[in-house]
Symmetry: C2
Subunit: 287 residues, 2 copies
């Protein structure tokens, strides 16, 4: 398969891109707790971690996320990206996570874009891991342009579903998390480039958005997979990341459907093994 441009080796024309100063403060994914089963037997059960992480931007408290803590730096960056509070990874100087104080200190070059306006309206969104999207849910959607020429073949989709099925997950150990995968859209092959799980669906999406920025990855030649439901916010975030293909093993909502149609996203639900339902953007899908 042809590797996406951002996976090709660095060259003098493509030197190591800028990266903010980052900590690497992942938390253990699971913790064992005792439980009594229906037979009265006591057993140790692995449960998913859940930790408050308060994000400070330029020393100002922004919000507290509840997270599994597997990729806190990428999560914080992706949160700022998906909330459209920063315009570019180049605007972020450093992201430092300290679990002793449950704090994530972010230093920006120029402060947050339009924070007052964006924090002025609170929209609690659906079934998501964070809930609030500052500002209007529909902000900027008109500006989203997804590549019309991108194609996804059924063989590539099946390959992705097979890879996801075999992926080692926290969910298999402990449940109570949602997973998101970013995969390359190859010719019949969809290697998983990132796989993030979190107690909140949208934390997982945001962490991938953050890592895409850090790794200078484009969305146009990728596929986004989520274990979660295709609600309005999930569709909006995929579109904002410039990813034309969104697949989920779960169902969708009416508003997720309408937004996917509006932005021309190819959305596939109930995708398990060799079954799926193609809901929108069928012009990009090749059976």
């Amino acid at each position: 398969m042809q590797l996406p441009s951002d996976l090709r080796p660095l060259t003098p024309e493509r030197p190591e891109p800028y990266r903010p100063l980052l900590t690497d403060a992942a938390r253990p994914a699971t913790f064992d707790v005792p439980a009594v089963d229906e037979h009265g037997g006591v057993r140790s059960v692995a449960v998913a971690g859940e930790h408050p992480l308060t994000i400070y931007v330029d020393k100002q408290e922004l919000l507290t996320l509840m997270t599994l803590g597997g990729a806190p730096e990428a999560l914080a960056i992706g949160y700022l990206r998906n909330q459209r509070l920063v315009d570019s990874i180049d605007d972020i100087v450093s992201v430092q996570v300290d679990w002793d104080t449950h704090a994530c200190a972010i230093v920006t070059r120029n402060g947050l874009a339009d924070l007052e306006a964006k924090t002025g309206r609170r929209t609690k969104t659906t079934g998501c891991g964070q809930g609030t999207m500052f500002g209007d849910l529909m902000d900027d959607l008109d500006r989203v342009r997804l590549p019309g020429t991108a194609r996804l073949t059924q063989a590539t989709l099946y390959d992705l579903l097979e890879r996801v099925r075999h992926h080692e997950t926290i969910y298999k150990q402990a449940g109570a998390v949602h997973g998101c995968a970013l995969a390359a859209n190859g010719d019949g092959a969809a290697p998983i480039l990132m796989f993030v799980e979190d107690v909140g669906r949208h934390n997982a999406v945001d962490a991938i958005a953050g890592r895409m920025w850090l790794d200078r990855m484009t969305g146009a030649d990728k596929i986004f997979y989520t274990t979660g439901r295709l609600t309005s916010e999930m569709v909006i975030k995929a579109a904002q990341m410039g990813i034309p293909f969104l697949a989920s093993r779960s169902g969708l909502t009416q508003m997720g459907y309408e937004i996917a149609q509006k932005v021309g996203l190819t959305m596939i639900g109930r995708a398990v093994n060799t079954h799926y339902l193609l809901f929108t953007g069928s012009d990009r899908f090749v059976r």
Copy 2:
């Protein structure tokens, strides 16, 4: 079985309780959209509704919820209750939902309690349907008192799981929703008193909290069931409603476990058919 006091007939000693003026503006639960399956067949698929509902309290915009819209008045009341923005149903004069403007206008007797302080801190919570809980997640938890004498028998739990399994649900039609049930804790029987589904887990919980207030239901003699994960916010809300028993077919998070222990809630996860895991509050559970 002995009926909980709030289910017994009204008497002169127990006259019809005060109710705010309410609209009854439920939305259709599902909408049909076309989809193409893996065989290329076009079919009509039912998907769950998702609608923005902007809550205005005393003409001031509070926030916008994304909801299935099945019980918008109870949802709005329960949201104010669970966010501890109003202290009693008696403080709410009217709740009027208008889907043409996607607005829910609430009139209170004395305004919102401590709104500035509570909106001052934003905590995005985990895997939830709304996300933000204003104020400190742990606020008031020290004040929660759950009845130490309440007991749940395994037979009653199994009866509840059986009733939930046979309950007609939107989930069975369309997926993409979470369900919550409030059941009476009878002797071997757990009749479902309320069953609410929503695209957001926490909308369903809040709608039940709102209806409990409207119907003057106590929590002490009830069981709360959710299809969703037992995260910190879910446990906090059950405890705030005064319900000593929380059961889910899903798993839990470490913080959900710790909070359930702290408040002495009896928490049961992975509860399906005759299987379950009793995690906390085992002194209240009778096998």
